[in-house]
């Protein structure tokens, strides 16, 4: 999808259309940009940028809070459309998916035609545009989809892989991080072509064995397998940057509960289970720490996530340093499958889990239902 969160906002609020919209950091004070519209990008704003900078770059931008629930709702509509095209869908984020269209030519016609049909159906259903990349592997398809945003359609045919890759900036090679890019630049490798002409043993020497192998393959258009179904370490996480740095323990506990709530529901909604809880703490001086704990059994309720998070906070934090940002997540996620072990005893966690499943069903019908402790106190007191 193109600038997904911002596009949803613009679509839901016609008055935002054509204007620079920034999702996240709504107060304009603290927090970071989660997403921004193409209009905002013209000002040099990009996601993960502190909201204060964005404000400076574009003072008249419209700041809106992240409405994850709404984006997920739209995402579901889109993913359902994708499902109509192929059962072989790998969703890699709220607004990205790989569709394996092998053998569907007789149903939908040639690839470009299918892609246009797909774009049209999504546009009709949601009013949103998306960019499609067509290629014979995940790596090339992803690069192709990013190549001509927004509303793009790029088809990389067999035999054209190298020519296509040479038109891509080195920094845009998927899976190539900032650090690796710097390393490569330091060795005068600044284009995909140069990367391809570099000996694999040389690449492995400068970037490490696995990364070297990855780059060698990627520069040749061979899928190194980053987003095949076997992707191992998926995680769901959420974080909050406080308006003001804090050491208020009750506030932190409540924030963690709030985050646990969000995470558990995203896990339920997307059908994941996980055993590892991690927290992230960023102090006033921007030093950042993470801590994790892996349980022997899958996390069953937000209460459980919250409890582990509190343990981790207790271990990691000195109860004194001012905290700027706190994050919580569950990693090593796996698709909840049918062959689950049945339990002998139903305990408190099972009860919580049942309640949360029920709440999840209610929420998915668009009702607002939340824990009493997560309702902000009444302004004038109760």
């Amino acid at each position: 999808m193109d600038a997904f969160y911002a596009s949803v906002e613009q679509n839901d609020h016609p008055e935002y259309r054509g204007l620079p919209v920034i999702v996240g950091g709504a107060s304009g004070k603290r927090g970071v940009v989660s997403a921004c519209s193409y209009e905002a990008r013209k000002f040099g704003i990009h996601s993960a940028m502190p909201a204060t900078w964005a404000k400076r770059l574009c003072p008249h931008a419209i700041f809106v809070p992240v409405n994850m629930k709404r984006y997920q709702e739209v995402s579901r509509v889109i993913m359902n459309i994708f499902d109509d095209f192929t059962p072989e869908k790998i969703q890699i984020s709220v607004d990205e998916a790989f569709l394996d269209m092998s053998g569907t030519e007789r149903l939908f016609g040639p690839p470009e035609k299918t892609a246009l049909l797909l774009k049209e159906r999504v546009k009709t259903a949601t009013g949103l545009t998306l960019s499609v990349g067509i290629a014979h592997n995940h790596l090339l398809a992803k690069l192709a989809s990013d190549f001509d945003k927004p509303d793009g359609l790029v088809f990389v045919r067999k035999g054209e892989e190298l020519a296509f890759l040479d038109r891509i900036d080195l920094k845009d090679i998927w899976g190539l991080g900032k650090k690796t890019l710097e390393t490569l630049n330091a060795f005068n490798i600044t284009t995909v072509k140069q990367l391809r002409e570099t000996d694999i043993s040389m690449l492995q020497k400068i970037t490490g064995k696995a990364a070297g192998d990855f780059l060698y393959k990627a520069s040749r258009g061979i899928d190194p397998g980053i987003h095949s179904e076997r992707v191992k370490n998926r995680s769901i996480s959420s974080e909050v940057t406080f308006e003001e740095d804090t050491r208020n323990i009750e506030g932190l506990h409540k924030t963690l509960l709030h985050l646990a709530d969000q995470i558990m529901f995203r896990m339920l909604e997307q059908g994941y289970i996980g055993k590892t809880v991690f927290i992230k703490l960023r102090y006033s001086d921007f030093t950042t720490f993470t801590a994790r704990q892996t349980l022997k059994h899958p996390l069953r309720s937000e209460e459980e996530i919250h409890r582990v998070a509190l343990d981790l906070l207790k271990k990691k934090w000195d109860n004194h340093s001012l905290i700027r940002l706190i994050g919580l997540g569950v990693s090593s996620l796996e698709k909840k499958d049918s062959h689950q072990q049945i339990e002998l005893f139903s305990d408190a966690a099972d009860q919580h889990s049942k309640v949360e499943n029920a709440v999840q069903i209610i929420r998915s019908k668009g009702r607002n239902i939340k824990k009493a402790s997560l309702i902000p106190p009444h302004k004038n007191g109760l």
Binding site: K296, H339, Q341
Partner: protein, 368 residues
């Protein structure tokens, strides 16, 4: 302090002491073993503050006294020495001297005064009750493997020991399977509330017991004490609420199959080679007069084995973790076992064909 003792005799006990002492990394009094020589007896003590161990061995004491030394090093030194008698002595300046007789070997190990050594819980003799060692070993063996190693379910990290009317039972569960064994127990003066016993002491008892003679137990609210041969072990108990296990014991099950135990085990071992090792899911398919065990079709392939068994009834498929089947089959020592079940998502029970009062319950996994 000065005493002489044979290497083989002391090394056996010191290696047990080292097993009790868990933290090898930090050097403190808890990494030390206590040695007390008196009356031609050497008393050896070790503890990790949870489990305590005491044993007595006959030695030749020239001068009585006591000390403590770093157990890990002491054991390594003993292992390195030639066979034969060794003379041990304590010097005033906190040095423990190890001199093998007829050798020019001299080890001086730093020692810590014995009065720094933590007290090991003890209890008077009249609190003990007795059981044949073999019986207790059997009870431990039938249950201890089933406990949970999930620390967040700490109340399942031990074996539940319950004295009810004139029976003594042990129960262990990890929440997915449960093992139970009961024995007759008619010591009238002994009464205690059910307790959760940590596995460490049970494994130790099982390892150290000769399996012959009598073993004595005492249970208080906080500790369990075990005495056998010339050894004493004690452990604190796990505080917590053991799950209401009686509620999950099936009252009656619809089908019962009699089957050769070793044949099932062998088949499980073979078929499990192609089972996905994370879920360990295997399928049992009961059809008229036979049991088909098969794996799921995977990237690796698929395996299937058919066994004869006494089954009459409608075809039934049950999916479960094969380890949960293998564990109880390993510890039941009858030639044949009975497998009882009611349907796909209901508990199955494995019981011996002999008259023993024990069973193993396994919860299945969901079928697709």
């Amino acid at each position: 302090m000065k005493f002489t003792c044979n290497k083989d005799l002391i090394i056996k006990e010191i290696s047990i002491a080292q097993e009790i002492i868990s933290s090898r990394n930090s050097i403190s009094i808890l990494s030390n073993v206590l040695l007390e020589a008196d009356n031609n007896t050497l008393t050896i003590r070790a503890t990790d503050l949870k489990v305590g161990f005491e044993t007595k061995i006959p030695v030749e004491v020239a001068q009585s006294g006591s000390t403590t030394v770093f157990c890990d090093k002491f054991l390594s030194i003993l292992r390195s020495l030639p066979d034969g008698d060794i003379e041990f002595s304590q010097k005033d300046d906190n040095r423990f001297i190890i001199n093998p007789l007829f050798n020019k070997i001299d080890f001086q190990l730093k020692s810590i005064n014995a009065d720094k050594f933590p007290e090991i819980q003890d209890i008077s003799d009249d609190n003990y009750f007795q059981l044949p060692q073999k019986e207790l070993m059997d009870m431990i063996g039938q249950t201890v493997f089933a406990v949970s190693d999930d620390e967040t379910r700490y109340y399942m990290n031990g074996v539940y020991l319950e004295h009810e009317d004139n029976t003594l039972s042990m129960v262990a569960t990890d929440g997915r399977r449960l093992s139970f064994i009961k024995t007759i127990f008619d010591e009238e003066n002994i009464n205690f509330d059910p307790v959760i016993v940590p596995t460490k002491i049970l494994h130790l008892v099982k390892k150290l017991s000769s399996g012959e003679g009598i073993i004595a137990l005492a249970v208080t609210d906080n500790n369990i004490f075990v005495k056998f041969d010339n050894q004493k072990l004690s452990s604190n108990l796990i505080k917590g609420q053991f799950p209401n296990y009686k509620r999950v014991i099936p009252e009656s099950q619809e089908y019962e199959v009699r089957i050769n135990r070793l044949q099932v085990m062998e088949a499980l071992k073979r078929v499990s080679l192609l089972v996905e090792q994370k879920s360990r899911r295997i399928f049992l398919n009961f059809i008229e007069n036979s049991l088909i065990i098969n794996s799921e079709e995977s990237e690796l392939g698929v395996a299937k084995e058919e066994l004869e068994c006494s089954f009459t009834g409608p075809e039934t498929s049950i999916a479960l973790n094969y380890q949960y089947l293998l564990d109880p089959l390993k510890v039941i020592d009858d030639e044949e076992v009975l497998i009882r079940f009611s349907g796909a998502n209901k508990a199955i029970t494995i019981v011996p064909t002999s008259e023993k009062d024990l069973f193993h319950i396994v919860m299945p996994m969901q079928l697709d």
